[in-house]
């Protein structure tokens, strides 16, 4: 109820206008949305690529952070962007998506913008350390994983 009301608000705004490079894809209900983001400048790592984000909302949104992951699609082609904080299964290590970093001031649009700028500012063509191991082992949902946010530069 709480979440639905707020998500309804956000949806109304998203459908009206969105910053460049962020596109609304679908919102079948107030549980799971999908958004597309593109990097606007000519970062060679992400040039001409669009990435699909999946938002999952708990009933306590916006008190609780949404679960945001990149997803892989073949039609249309959507890959997982290469980034030292994005695992190849799409899980994102970003403090504002964690319990500590999240606050209700954030919203779907601001999260998309943060991720967009996170990609824009990146120059390293690499996955996080231990990516393979993490992807193979991890069965937790992103919000239950205890990330250590040590790098504030990206």
């Amino acid at each position: 109820m709480f979440a639905n009301k707020r998500l309804g608000k956000e949806l109304a705004k998203i459908q009206q206008s969105l910053p460049p490079g962020i596109d609304f894809v679908s919102a079948p209900d107030f549980k799971q949305w999908e958004m597309d983001i593109r990097v606007l400048d000519a970062n060679p790592l992400y040039a001409d690529q669009t990435y699909r984000l999946r938002f999952r909302f708990s009933p306590n949104y916006p008190i609780e952070a949404p679960e945001v992951t990149f997803i892989h699609l073949s039609q249309p082609l959507r890959t997982i962007p290469i980034h030292p904080h994005i695992y190849s299964n799409g899980i994102i290590c970003l403090d504002l998506l964690g319990t500590q970093g999240w606050s209700p001031v954030q919203n779907v649009e601001s999260v998309c913008m943060s991720l967009q700028s996170m990609l824009t500012g990146n120059t390293k063509n690499e996955r996080p350390p231990g990516d393979e191991e993490f992807v193979r082992r991890n069965t937790q949902r992103p919000r239950d994983i205890r990330f250590v946010y040590e790098d504030s530069s990206v």
Binding site: K5, R6, N60, Q100, S103, P104, V105
Partner: protein
């Protein structure tokens, strides 16, 4: 609900123009068109007629605080928007809570939303540290103050919980320490009883005089096992001889009675010097020979027999080296390991070594661990000379009674050579030592002639009173005897190993006809 923006807009404008008068009317009006939910809202409104502005609210203070903000929002002529639920003022229903602006920045929110937000911050699973959570505006980081009813009981319970949580670690520590001290105390107590026998012990401890034990002893008893363990290490070399000085200083003047036989405490006070003298003797006389014997059973020992003397000499020099720099020691270990690689081919050729080179590598790792153990415990340990880095044959670095790490490739030799290796074994040995001494003392009593061990019957026989006539004397002599016997045994077994090493031969495979094969050597 979301289908009514124009009407709401109107009502909110009304409200802004004259909030006091129109509030209840506005509420009724806004709820009328909502077919399904209006009944609810209506009843709530009726049963709860106090609109924020008109009612004598118990929370007058925060409201008064909030009122100026309302006016500023009104003056901006822009509906306030809750930063949590994103609903703005125009959508307020009678059930939605009041507006709050808890911080200097422009964020305003519904009170209920803020309270949810705060509750989430306070939820135990979201807390980073054990301290109270920081409740602050996510934008301007200003602290959000919450007025809540204070309950003495709740706060008392909370304070108690905090206090107990804080005391867990110290309590555990104190309990463990208490256990150790009590254990040490008991050990010290039984040590006194074992060494001195019941009568002397009770006299010493003052049990027959006082109800309890002499307080001096109560404090001192736990140090007995500690001193026993310390006496097994090289670190005690510098400390132990100092301790008796305090004894002499404190009891010297009033000490009377014959010098021989020495009193029990006197004997104990002299023990550290005896220990030091014995160690010195061992290091000078026995250790070099021991090294030579151990050297002999190294693989291909005979090939560089010429080095032996040189190494012995250097090893002897090392005996006087008295450093405690374990870091340096470990460095040497590492260098030794690297050098050890040179030995691999040699060792591989040695006839009795059956393992492959990989096994030897493992052995070396074990060796190294054991070395570290030894140096941690410092049992008769000599810190090697740093200049030995350049020595291509580092075997002699850790040659002492208990340190023959290079032989454990071979099970039989290893058993003989590697006793008293580990720290637990040392501690056990130290703690059991009083018992062994007492047992040896009892043996002495049985073994020695009666006239030596029995107190003189008549007074004039006094001058011949012997040291062995008291139980503690026998215990101490027994203990010393044990040490000497043990070291002799170890030395002998090493000597035998060295001798037997030369006599080894390989037994040929026993052929079909059951004929004994000859020696190959």
């Amino acid at each position: 609900m979301a289908s009514l923006p124009p009407q709401r807009q109107q009502s909110s404008q009304q409200r802004r123009s004259s909030p006091e008068a129109s509030s209840s009317q506005q509420r009724r009006r806004s709820s009328i068109p909502q077919s399904a939910t209006s009944e609810d809202s209506q009843t709530v409104l009726l049963s709860h007629p106090s609109s924020p502005e008109s009612s004598p609210d118990p929370e007058t203070k925060p409201k008064q605080h909030a009122r100026p903000k309302i006016q500023t929002a009104e003056s901006n002529n822009e509906p306030r928007k809750c930063w949590i639920c994103f609903a703005d003022e125009t959508e307020d229903t009678p059930t939605s809570s009041e507006w709050r602006s808890p911080c200097p920045c422009s964020l305003t929110a519904h009170e209920s939303c803020l309270l949810d937000f705060v509750a989430d911050l306070e939820a135990p699973q979201n807390r980073k540290s054990s301290g109270p959570p920081k409740i602050e505006c996510p934008q301007c980081k200003a602290k959000i103050t919450i007025a809540r009813p204070r309950s003495l009981v709740v706060e008392g319970v909370r304070a108690m919980q905090r206090a107990t949580a804080r005391f867990i670690l110290p309590f555990t520590f104190v309990t463990l320490a208490g256990t150790v001290v009590t254990g040490c105390w008991m050990h010290g107590f039984s040590t006194i009883y074992l060494l001195f026998g019941p009568e002397d012990a009770e006299r010493l401890l003052g049990i027959d005089k006082a109800v309890g034990i002499n307080s001096k002893w109560a404090l001192g008893l736990p140090f007995i096992p500690l001193a026993l363990i310390a006496a097994r290490t090289r670190y005690a070399d510098n400390l132990l001889p100092i301790l008796p000085i305090f004894y002499f200083a404190s009891t010297g003047p009033q000490r009377d009675g014959p010098l021989w036989p020495p009193s029990a405490s006197m004997t104990v006070a002299i023990l550290p010097y005896i220990r030091a003298a014995y160690n010195e003797f061992y290091d000078r006389v026995c250790a070099p020979r021991e090294k030579a014997w151990i050297k002999q059973i190294q693989p291909r020992a005979g090939d560089h027999g010429g080095d032996e003397e040189h190494e012995q000499h250097q090893g002897q020099a090392n005996d006087f080296e008295d450093g405690m720099d374990i870091g340096l020691d470990l460095q040497v270990e590492i260098v030794e390991e690297e050098e050890g690689n040179d030995d691999v081919p040699q060792a591989g050729n040695a006839p009795e070594v059956e393992q492959g080179e990989a096994n030897q590598g493992q052995d070396r790792i074990q060796d190294r661990n054991q070395n570290q153990n030894q140096h941690a415990e410092g049992n008769r340990a000599h810190v090697p000379n740093p200049h030995q880095h350049v020595n291509p044959h580092p075997h002699h670095q850790h040659q002492h009674q208990n340190q023959h790490e290079h032989q454990n490739q071979n099970g039989v030799q290893g058993l003989v050579l590697n006793n008293f290796f580990s720290l637990p074994q040392t501690i056990m040995g130290a703690l059991v030592f009083p018992g062994i001494s007492a047992a040896m003392g009892a043996l002495l009593q049985v073994a020695l002639p009666r006239s030596w061990t029995m107190p003189p019957s008549s007074r004039w026989d006094r001058h011949s009173a012997g040291f062995l006539q008291s139980r503690f004397g026998r215990s101490i002599v027994g203990g010393c005897l044990f040490v000497v016997l043990k070291d002799t045994l170890m030395l002998y077994s090493r000597y035998r190993l060295a001798q037997d090493h030369k006599m080894r031969r390989i037994v040929d495979y026993d052929g079909k006809k059951g004929k004994k094969a000859g020696a190959t050597r």
